[in-house]
């Protein structure tokens, strides 16, 4: 069984992309083979995170960017696969990162997918296209699939929710963020009842955590109380190294001399990755 999760919170800049990349790397470190899917939009942040932005832009310039992630949402994706064979198509879609995981990067074509799917009457079809793709071509091929979603409630991100069902939410410790997370939990309840899918808030990861401040401790308690079973075992420390590594196109796992905060963050990602496997793997 392939472990699937989507990293989501209806808010920008909470660390979704960072979390996707680092949890992916942590899972790899633990011996799992996986793939990341970037539904988070045209900045192609995950490609940047692994130094794959330039090659991808080159492919776009040279008209060698077809098929791409947006093709997966096309009515005739199945036909495309029939004409060429799954291997040829997957070979084009999937990039290898140099940190062990595979990646399907975002593509500018994703921009218009929301508009197109908006006209699709059938709900399963509108929200289930990515799931159909994942079920058919990625399930069983990988140990895990992590999907990076944008901080927006739109059709494409909902496709990510349908495909993964397990939702990981990185949050900062604050009262506004607490409200956001409660909203997300309510939304997930709505997905379950309105869409009849098994959506679940699988893991809440406190991010950019600053240890030892009473305020952080207070919030931590509040979060623990409200999101009890969903809280991640370890909060992820705020670390300048995370920013620097991201700028340099890698995760902190690649740093030769990580700072104390980066080392703590690394341990946290590893512990959270282990727990994720337990939670999702243990469900079936």
């Amino acid at each position: 069984m392939t472990i699937r999760a989507a990293v989501f919170l209806d808010k920008g800049g909470t660390g979704k992309t960072t979390t996707t990349a680092h949890l992916g790397r942590a899972l790899t470190e633990l011996g799992h083979e996986g793939i990341l899917i970037d539904l988070a939009g045209k900045q192609s942040d995950l490609a940047k995170q692994f130094g794959l932005y330039e090659p991808q832009q080159k492919a776009i310039e040279n008209d060698e960017d077809f098929p791409n992630l947006s093709s997966v949402f096309d009515d005739d994706f199945g036909k495309l696969v029939k004409m060429n064979g799954a291997d040829a198509i997957l070979d084009r879609l999937i990039y290898e990162t140099n940190e062990g995981m595979d990646l399907i990067p975002a593509h500018p074509g994703l921009d218009s997918v929301d508009g197109e799917l908006n006209n699709v009457e059938d709900r399963e079809d509108r929200y289930g296209r990515l799931k159909a793709f994942v079920d058919e071509y990625l399930e069983g091929r990988y140990d895990f699939i992590l999907i990076d979603l944008p901080g927006l409630s739109r059709i494409v991100p909902y496709n990510g929710v349908w495909a993964a069902e397990n939702i990981i939410a990185p949050v900062e410790m604050g009262s506004y963020e607490f409200g956001q997370l409660k909203q997300l939990a309510e939304d997930i309840d709505k997905y379950r009842s309105n869409w009849d899918i098994d959506a679940e808030l699988t893991m809440v990861i406190p991010n950019k955590f600053e240890r030892g401040t009473t305020l952080a401790d207070d919030y931590m308690n509040r979060y623990q109380e409200e999101f009890n079973g969903a809280m991640a075992p370890n909060p992820v420390a705020k670390s300048q190294d995370i920013r620097n590594a991201t700028e340099a196109g890698k995760t902190i796992f690649e740093l030769e001399e990580p700072s104390a905060t980066a080392s703590r963050a690394k341990e946290a990602y590893l512990a959270n990755a282990r727990e994720l496997v337990d939670r999702i793997g243990g469900k079936r």
């Binding site: 960017d65 084009r92 500018p108 508009g115 869409w195």
Partner: protein
């Protein structure tokens, strides 16, 4: 060209980034608009807007002192826009009508985008 890949006819015109940039931008704008409507509805974003302009401020000050003129201006705009008499005809309504009128008159595509965003919100499950 990815000439080693065979492309179904239906996918030929939306290959890569060949989709009309303008259409994409519009799509994006409509999405953002629908999004903003949601945020305003849920109270995340204020529904009040304010701006600073001496001449308009003076005009509105004078209209406040001359309610009949305020009323007649509001009515002219209502009939131009075919809008119902749904609020009390105060300065806030006048401003709202003026903005709507100029949007429709000067950039009808903005008004069109707004309409589509509304439709999108109604059609979406959320």
């Amino acid at each position: 060209m990815s000439d080693d890949i065979q492309v179904p006819d239906s996918m030929k015109d939306d290959r890569g980034s060949s989709l009309d940039e303008e259409a994409k931008a519009t799509e994006h704008f409509v999405d953002d608009l629908a999004e903003a409507m949601g945020r305003i509805e849920s109270g995340d974003v204020s529904k009040t807007i304010a701006f600073r302009d001496e001449r308009t401020a003076a005009l509105f000050q004078a209209l406040k002192q001359n309610p009949e003129r305020l009323q007649s201006t509001v009515e002219t705009l209502r009939s131009e826009l075919g809008s119902d008499k749904d609020s009390k005809g105060d300065r806030s309504e006048l401003l709202r009508l003026l903005v709507r009128y100029s949007i429709q008159d000067v950039t009808p595509e903005l008004a069109e985008a707004e309409k589509r965003a509304r439709v999108q919100r109604v059609e979406n499950d959320y």
